[in-house]
Point group: C2
Chain length 383, copies 2
């Protein structure tokens, strides 16, 4: 409990843009997010009052950080499960707990849990040799999708392999892999759900996510032309999964929509890129909801604030010779109704530097507006 405010203290391990936006949401709740940052330059470390420098793989650092917090939560899924268990055994409230979080850390563990729960996913197998990989492809068809079980993200640690590429692929003997059937998909969807320790659950409208080179570039809320039936299936699936895995906080379930129903692709147990639209687009943002959930506060309404909300990621680009200040200036002049979010990061090609959100009643117009604004910010000029 913070004696200055009479409110519990939330500590977030990791200080990237998710922690940065969580701190923003913490302020109206009377909170000030405590962050464990790798570096004082981390996005959240630039804006939060209570920053501890340390490493998420050091138990010593984690324990020292936890000492000032009533609840611990995460900006990413990279804290080793055994350290989370040790923190819990030392009496710290950690949300999500290790037994839940492992499903967002290890794709093999997730696939096993989905099979056990009867929740559909692509055909899959653990794989440790090229022979096994080739046999899986022979059974399920080519190409296949090879994934490191742990540590991949934004397209890294994922390979789409033809038969000949599979036969010559080199598996790292120190890593665990899974192989999945490459299913023909209509599009990708995501369901965002929040769950409190008490067991209260809330769901936002199902969204469509658009990827490019394995990186999310656009999120459309709600997913266009999604039948009520499929939306209901997706929401029910996410709520059930959150309860079965014992999730506390926000969980994003990435789904494939196929001609034969929905398949679970991946999970994230934290605020997620597919939910950034909720900052302006929902009465309660995913960041506020994550805080409410880990604090075991009652959850907020997830009603949308506009018929259509589109979020577009700002990736580092050529910049057109202009600094971000000048590009932001121009974008604000041209699109006074597009909301800009900058993460305080230096630019590198392909790096997520921020995002924009547009809202309105005409989907085509809203998408075009978000894309035009983010394209200008990315390129420093029109394409």
């Amino acid at each position: 409990m913070d004696p200055r405010t009479g409110l519990p203290v939330v500590g977030m391990v990791g200080a990237g843009q998710l922690a940065r936006m969580t701190h923003q949401a913490a302020i109206p709740l009377g909170q000030s997010l405590r962050v464990l940052a790798e570096s004082p330059q981390d996005g959240a470390a630039l804006v939060a009052a209570d920053v501890v420098i340390g490493t998420h793989t050091s138990y010593e650092d984690l324990l020292a950080f936890a000492a000032g917090c009533d609840v611990l939560t995460f900006d990413h899924e990279h804290v080793p499960t055994e350290l989370i268990r040790s923190l819990a055994e030392a009496g710290h409230a950690v949300y999500p707990g290790a037994d839940a979080l492992v499903h967002a850390q290890d794709k093999a563990v997730l696939r096993e849990a989905l099979v056990q729960a009867g929740i559909p996913g692509p055909s899959w197998s653990r794989v440790s040799t090229v022979d096994h990989l080739v046999a899986f492809g022979a059974q399920h068809g080519w190409p296949v999708v090879l994934k490191v079980a742990r540590g991949g993200y934004d397209g890294r640690g994922v390979w789409f392999l033809s038969e000949s590429a599979a036969a010559s692929h080199v598996l790292d003997g120190d890593r665990a892999y899974i192989v999945e059937q490459r299913v023909p998909i209509l599009r990708e969807l995501a369901v965002l759900v929040a769950r409190s320790p008490y067991g209260q659950v809330s769901v936002w409208p199902i969204v469509q996510t658009v990827q490019r080179d394995g990186i999310c570039v656009e999120v459309i809320a709600p997913a266009p032309e999604l039948s009520e039936e499929v939306a209901g299936v997706a929401a029910t699936l996410a709520v059930r999964l959150a309860a079965e895995l014992g999730v506390v906080g926000v969980m994003a379930v990435e789904l494939f929509e196929t001609g034969h129903g929905l398949l679970v692709n991946e999970l994230a147990m934290r605020p997620h890129n597919s939910g950034h639209w909720t900052i302006e687009g929902s009465r309660t943002s995913q960041f506020e909801q994550h805080l409410r959930a880990v604090l075991d506060y009652p959850l907020g309404t997830t009603t949308m604030t506009a018929p259509w909300v589109v979020m577009a990621n700002l990736l580092g680009g050529p910049d057109g010779g202009m600094g971000i200040d000048e590009r932001a200036h121009h974008a604000m002049a041209q699109w006074p109704d597009v909301k800009l979010h900058l993460y305080g990061k230096s630019s590198r090609p392909g790096r997520k530097l921020g995002h924009v959100t547009a809202l309105g009643s005409d989907l085509a117009e809203v998408r075009a507006r978000a894309q035009a604004a983010v394209s200008y910010l990315h390129q420093g000029g029109h394409p």
Copy 2:
């Protein structure tokens, strides 16, 4: 320019709730508000990364604070004009500047400017003796309103005086006073306007403010049953005043609606309590707009996000034996669609501890919801 982000640095003198909410709005702009706080316990000092402890009446402190900023602005109007002038002469960008800000500091200067601009206000006079006060009342009718020219707020420094009370009132020879005619008013309105150094101006819809004991307790946006004509007069008046006074940043113009039109009551040149509703209720909040204005960025859209938005102030109260954490918990359970804003302050009766915002399409329901939530938070139970 912050070398870490490539963006200019805004410094705010004062670290109360206005600075706290401005920091919240600064985060998505890629900014981190630098605040000059009296104490590390100040509301904004609890949440901002870049806090300097100092006094706003010390030129030394102001100058040291300004050294790290590209633009200086204010959480309050208490910085002496001559210090602002010295900062500007030393080459610092200070918004609003001294020539504008003095109108929010000194009620006599404001009244003179309004007379000169032909903008209506109540009849008034500078007053320095009881004889003068009594003569004013004899001419304009009793009671009269006596105000200290500088430093009064939230009902302090304001007296409603009958003839007998005026005759025995003691004027402090060290202070300047004005006396105003007490006009019969229908209600109080406020217009919020933002202006950039370039001269771009934006206005939010006119709101109704409800006061109790001289303190704002509720703001209704837009002001109910306000004719388009009167709304237009109010907006035009505010835009014209902002331009004539050379305001940069947000300015709130408090108005009396009377049977004979609108009269200007007071000004504030900063984000203002009458604009807290804009955080959720407008596409661009007053805090974001203030930052955009002082940074000379193009201003954002001020479209409302719902037909009706009601803000109710949370004042310190009896608390019903519950801490704020428990009261917030209960309020969130009962009103999942009311947005809570806590300022990180300890409770004292009558102190502004936070506010709530409710939105919707039925004004009576929205008002009732906001009032019920704030009443629960205030009393720790239903009345």
